[in-house]
């Protein structure tokens, strides 16, 4: 197999830089990715990065995937999000019955997918499948999606009494329905990451056949087209590898922008350029240090886990905790670095045409994302001490 990471793919991502930059303001303004940007990602093969070779996909390794998201996010973190999001939900097709995976990726390996991963929709058992309804938040890139994924809680017909499994816990399923069955709400008016189009959606009585859903949990079987090692890599690892590079990209951009500014700006009341001030030198170094350290930990952790996967090793709960901690650390470090750069920029950074302003807003939103939020430090501690973790995605 190709050496890790695959530099050819990373070069493809780098080459997309100009087009991403060109349409970045439009995405921000319209609150979604412009079609021309989506097409560029699609034409370059990035939307089939995680689809299996057997179905015409690229099936790259997790490190390459992560590096690609990072390259895109340096130019526009919202574009990085809109790339990684359908890929992650396409990846879960590996756990469907064969017919389901063929429905979704068979004719076209490009993941034209969105999903709601938050509070579950309601699913009622009917002949041959489920009938689902409900309200789902944060359906990123829903405007481009052909299919919508959803976590659903299985309930009895009538009042919403959940169906309980043998452990008296409510049963959750993960399934896919046609995107045209949902209504997109106009509520994505946010501080940052505006271009992701993460509107909420409403679904009423959409049908999901049994082959397009599966129990949502730690147990699963891989479909016949998904036998490569990529699909045995833990999902939490792919989420870490897909989301964390965005904060790294934002931080990289913020540092580069602030450093460039420091070379030309003379702060009001000072006779020296910004870069000549010791405080500037100090902040640049702090920012570089924490970002590089977070990045080193991320790739080291992903590498270690990928090599273990290739060697056929089991994934333990400790491995999962390690992956998650790498994400929290990189995110918290990157957020701190952006704070430093924003503070360095002074009043320059408060203007909406300043890249620093954009980086700052995007980071503030991204750091609230569940996987990257401070709360995951507590989750790690729970796992460290052998307690039940409060973050369910960790076991998927």
């Amino acid at each position: 197999m190709a050496s890790t990471p695959d530099q050819d793919y990373i070069q493809i991502a780098k080459d997309l830089g100009p087009v991403i930059q060109q349409y970045s303001d439009q995405a921000e303004r319209e609150g979604r990715m412009p079609q021309v940007m989506w097409d560029a990602l699609s034409d370059a093969g990035l939307l089939s990065l995680l689809s299996p070779k057997k179905l015409g996909g690229e099936e790259v390794d997790p490190i390459t995937y992560s590096r690609i998201v990072e390259e895109i996010s340096i130019h526009d973190a919202a574009a990085g999000w809109t790339l990684t999001n359908p890929l992650l939900f396409g990846l879960l097709c590996a756990r469907l019955p064969q017919q389901g995976a063929l429905d979704i990726l068979g004719k076209d390996p490009r993941a034209r997918l969105a999903a709601t991963f938050g509070p579950p929709l309601k699913a009622v058992r009917v002949e041959g499948g489920y009938r689902i309804s409900g309200y789902g938040p944060f359906a990123s890139n829903c405007h481009q999606a052909a299919w919508m994924g959803a976590i659903c809680q299985v309930v009895e017909e009538g009042p919403d009494n959940p169906e309980l499994d043998i452990n008296q816990r409510s049963r959750l399923i993960w399934g896919y329905y046609p995107a045209k069955d949902c209504q997109i709400l106009d509520n994505w008016h946010v501080m940052g990451m505006r271009g992701t189009g993460s509107n909420d959606i409403l679904v009423k009585e959409s049908f999901i056949p049994d082959h397009r859903c599966m129990p949502f949990g730690a147990e699963y079987e891989l479909g016949p087209d998904f036998q490569g090692p990529l699909y045995r890599f833990p999902f939490i690892g792919m989420a870490v590898g897909g989301l964390t590079p965005m904060v790294l990209g934002i931080a990289r951009r913020a540092i580069d922008e602030a450093a460039a500014l420091a070379k030309v700006k003379t702060p009001a009341g000072s006779s020296k350029l910004l870069w000549e001030h010791p405080a500037t030198q100090h902040k640049i170094a702090q920012a570089e240090g924490v970002v590089r350290a977070g990045r080193a930990l991320l790739y080291e952790t992903l590498n270690a886990r990928w090599e273990a996967t290739l060697a056929g090793e089991e994934v333990t709960i400790d491995h999962r905790a390690d992956l998650m901690l790498a994400a929290s650390t990189a995110a918290s470090n990157a957020a701190y670095a952006v704070e430093l750069m924003f503070s360095l920029g002074g009043t320059t950074g408060i203007y909406v045409n300043s890249p620093l302003e954009r980086c700052f807003r995007d980071m503030q939103v991204l750091r609230q994302q569940r996987l990257l939020a401070d709360g995951r430090y507590e989750t790690f501690g729970q796992m460290y001490f052998g307690l039940e973790p409060d973050f369910i995605t960790i076991v998927i």
């Binding site: 450093a259 420091a262 070379k263 870069w275 010791p278 500037t280 030198q281 100090h282 902040k283 640049i284 170094a285 702090q286 570089e288 240090g289 924490v290 590089r292 350290a293 977070g294 080193a296 930990l297 080291e300 952790t301 270690a304 400790d318 491995h319 905790a321 390690d322 901690l325 790498a326 929290s328 650390t329 990189a330 918290s332 470090n333 401070d374 995951r376 430090y377 507590e378 989750t379 790690f380 501690g381 729970q382 460290y384 001490f385 307690l387």
Partner: protein, 399 residues
């Protein structure tokens, strides 16, 4: 939790030695602490199994390991006793610098005894006056770790105007690095400190000691390695070797602090609380932040060392940005380790204030180690200066 770095660059047999002597070092640490220098038992343990010749060249009977092995061994030793870790680092660094001496000097210092102990004083410089055949050295050296066991005292010297070998006036030159014989140095009883007490880092005085030319070299970025030091290790920068070593002591301290508290958390119930420490949200968050600080500090340190070592193996010179990257990785690892240790001390509550707890000593050791100017917060400015192409204020970075 698994250790995250497991590179084939690390010499497994030396790591085994380091692990084996751990219990001895731990046992000796009370004695070293109270006598304010290493006990003979600790010195003997460190002298076993080739640890003391890690940086001496193979052709002179040493191990000539790579910087990554050096870093790993130092961390492992420091997990048992930070003063021992620190005391292993110092003699080795100054033995390493013998590679920049004329051959006769290296032979004199390491030829008979490749395990000779060194100590050194870096700032402020002593003074050297040029005379026929060498220099007359005088002054006071600070923080001479392990001086009580040293055969040779190294020092940075400012060169004053003097006479050359023909009796003519000789101008002042750039600073030099010299090795003074131990019998020419008088140790002062100054090491009464908060932590790292076992390192015996007393000050010393020298008065008019003669140092021949073959025991001195100019402190410049460019140098020619001696004929017994032709391996790639001796092309690595001094700051790179320091970076492999001293932040590793701090990583070792942080690692043990976390491990101690993790054990404590299993049993301790904080006074006034009915739930044990391990079930408290603040403990969850603290332990995670400490692990994150330790791991990310370590990851960047090793990534940087490995990258620059592989570049050195490929025959490249250490570049300007390599040098600034080294400063940054060292500073980050040091501050993250300090942060992790402070989090653990805080989390332990009153359990951490008792002297019989290892945590109390490790906390104090960290508070002293972190004051070292190789990697205080001020080094962030040094990196920033190099980042913007300025001459760094901290010239050691270029050596």
């Amino acid at each position: 939790m698994a250790r995250l770095i497991d590179t084939p660059l690390v010499d497994a047999s030396l790591m085994e030695v380091a692990r084996e002597i751990g219990p001895v070092l731990r046992q000796e640490s009370n004695g070293s602490e109270s006598q304010r220098r290493l006990t003979q038992g600790a010195v003997d343990a460190l002298s076993s199994g080739g640890l003391l010749t890690m940086l001496t060249s193979k052709s002179m009977g040493g191990q000539e390991v790579n910087p990554i092995t050096y870093a790993s061994v130092v961390e492992e030793i420091s997990r048992s006793d930070p003063s021992s870790g620190w005391s292993l680092v110092n003699p080795l660094l100054w033995a390493f610098l013998c590679s920049r001496l004329p051959d006769q000097g290296a032979d004199e210092l390491l030829g008979n005894d490749p395990r000779a102990w060194f100590t050194a004083a870096i700032a402020p410089p002593l003074t050297a006056v040029p005379v026929d055949g060498g220099y007359i050295v005088s002054g006071r050296g600070l923080f001479a770790s392990n001086c009580h066991h040293a055969a040779w005292f190294a020092a940075v010297c400012e060169v004053k105007p003097g006479q050359d070998r023909n009796g003519k006036a000789a101008d002042a030159t750039k600073p030099i690095w010299v090795y003074v014989a131990a019998q020419d140095c008088r140790i002062l009883d100054t090491w009464h400190v908060l932590g790292l007490r076992g390192t015996g880092s007393d000050d010393f005085e020298v008065e008019n000691a003669f140092v021949p030319h073959h025991r001195a070299f100019p402190l410049t970025t460019e140098f020619v390695a001696g004929s017994n030091f032709q391996g790639p290790l001796y092309q690595f920068s001094l700051m790179g070797m320091i970076t492999a070593a001293l932040p590793s002591v701090m990583l070792g301290i942080a690692r043990t602090a976390i491990d101690e508290v993790a054990t404590l958390a299993e049993i301790k119930t904080p006074a006034g609380n009915s739930s044990s420490l391990r079930s408290r949200p603040s403990a969850h968050s603290s332990i995670a932040q400490a692990e994150a600080a330790y791991r990310s500090g370590r990851a960047l340190l090793y990534e940087t060392l490995i990258r620059i070592w592989e570049s050195t193996l490929a025959g490249n010179q250490i570049s300007w940005s390599d040098r600034s990257d080294i400063v940054l990785a060292a500073t980050n690892a040091a501050l993250q380790s300090a942060h992790a240790t402070e989090l653990m001390y805080r989390l332990a509550g009153t359990a951490g204030i008792y002297q019989h707890q290892r945590l109390e000593r490790f906390f104090r050791d960290m508070q002293v180690a972190r004051q070292h100017r190789f990697y205080t917060e001020a080094r962030y400015e040094t990196f920033g200066q190099m980042y913007f192409g300025l001459q760094p204020d901290y010239s050691l970075t270029l050596l």
